[in-house]
Symmetry: C2
């Protein structure tokens, strides 16, 4: 049980991962797609290198229901290199995963979510994507590392990445990767739960 769990998210300078008006039809909210242009539109070489490095590190993924619902991967999950086991924390009705799908739905909380994702990751790390599940994992002391892609935008309103973190959490800068369109920051979480 020594895998690194890292929370990997794009956010605006003022801390939002989605714009206002998030709904089933608009999973990223108004303007939210701007947070992902660094990735989808002509990524900088430094950004691509970081993504390649991430791809090699991770053995499984954890996410939340909103991120699952807005995913463009479809019910079978991602193809190619990114085809990894994905554990989705949800407290709403569980859609029956298709046979051979990468998705496993976990309704019993973050402890089981982490246990199952770690078992599936083998010797590799576990990536977390999703603000709500990220906050739950941070509060429970399960997150070892933050990977934040800070995008030059002030959203003013929307869905905040670190909204329900609760108590103070100290970090340590591992790495800062500046580019002209996004700043990648990796932080070690200092007061994570031992184990």
């Amino acid at each position: 049980m020594s895998k690194i769990v890292y929370l990997d998210m794009s956010m605006s300078v003022d801390g939002f991962v989605a714009g206002p008006g998030v709904s089933a039809e608009s999973g990223l909210g108004a303007g939210g797609e701007r947070l992902h242009e660094w990735l989808f539109v002509d990524p900088a070489p430094e950004s691509s290198a970081l993504l390649d490095q991430t791809m090699k590190r991770i053995g499984s993924m954890m996410t939340g229901r909103r991120t699952y619902d807005i995913s463009q991967w479809g019910p079978d999950g991602p193809a190619g290199e990114l085809r990894l086991p994905v554990f989705v924390l949800t407290n709403r009705g569980v859609p029956g995963p298709e046979a051979g799908s990468v998705y496993t739905f976990v309704t019993s909380g973050v402890d089981e979510l982490v246990e199952r994702a770690k078992a599936a990751a083998g010797e590799k790390d576990i990536a977390v994507s999703g603000a709500d599940v990220g906050q739950q994992l941070l509060r429970a002391g399960y997150v070892d590392e933050l990977v934040v892609h800070v995008v030059p935008e002030l959203f003013g309103e929307g869905l905040r990445l670190y909204d329900q973190v609760g108590a103070h959490i100290g970090l340590e800068i591992i790495e800062t990767i500046p580019t002209s369109r996004v700043t990648h920051q990796r932080y070690r979480v200092l007061n994570r739960k031992a184990g």
Copy 2:
């Protein structure tokens, strides 16, 4: 009227400039002093260079009443290089500035605040320090540049730098200065008011 107005603040990764429980006795809130250690405790050479560069740029300062109240400069204002005209936006009772003090209290709003600070800055730039006044100036389209010192901390609660920005504001990365203890970021504000 072509001076650059820039908002210069230290903030946590989750966007706070002060911890919870801000009061007259605790102007930075619980743990808020951690946001300023990069500056006061053995600053990195890159941080010192940025501060020196800032010092040479600015001809006047704008701030808010909270920042004034917690300032360690005393009623006469800063000495030495930092001895510049400071314009304090306030809607509470105006303390009579001491003769020769650097402080001018402005109660009529941000338009007059900016006009007076620009007049005092001569050919130089104007620095803004203070979350509330910064938000008011951003909303009014007066801020040309953000200088954010991002400190590796998640506060979870406290006073947010960009809490009342309102509508979306696009930025452009001017410069990212990584250090091991703080990440300095300079952004150009794209939708500022012309003038």
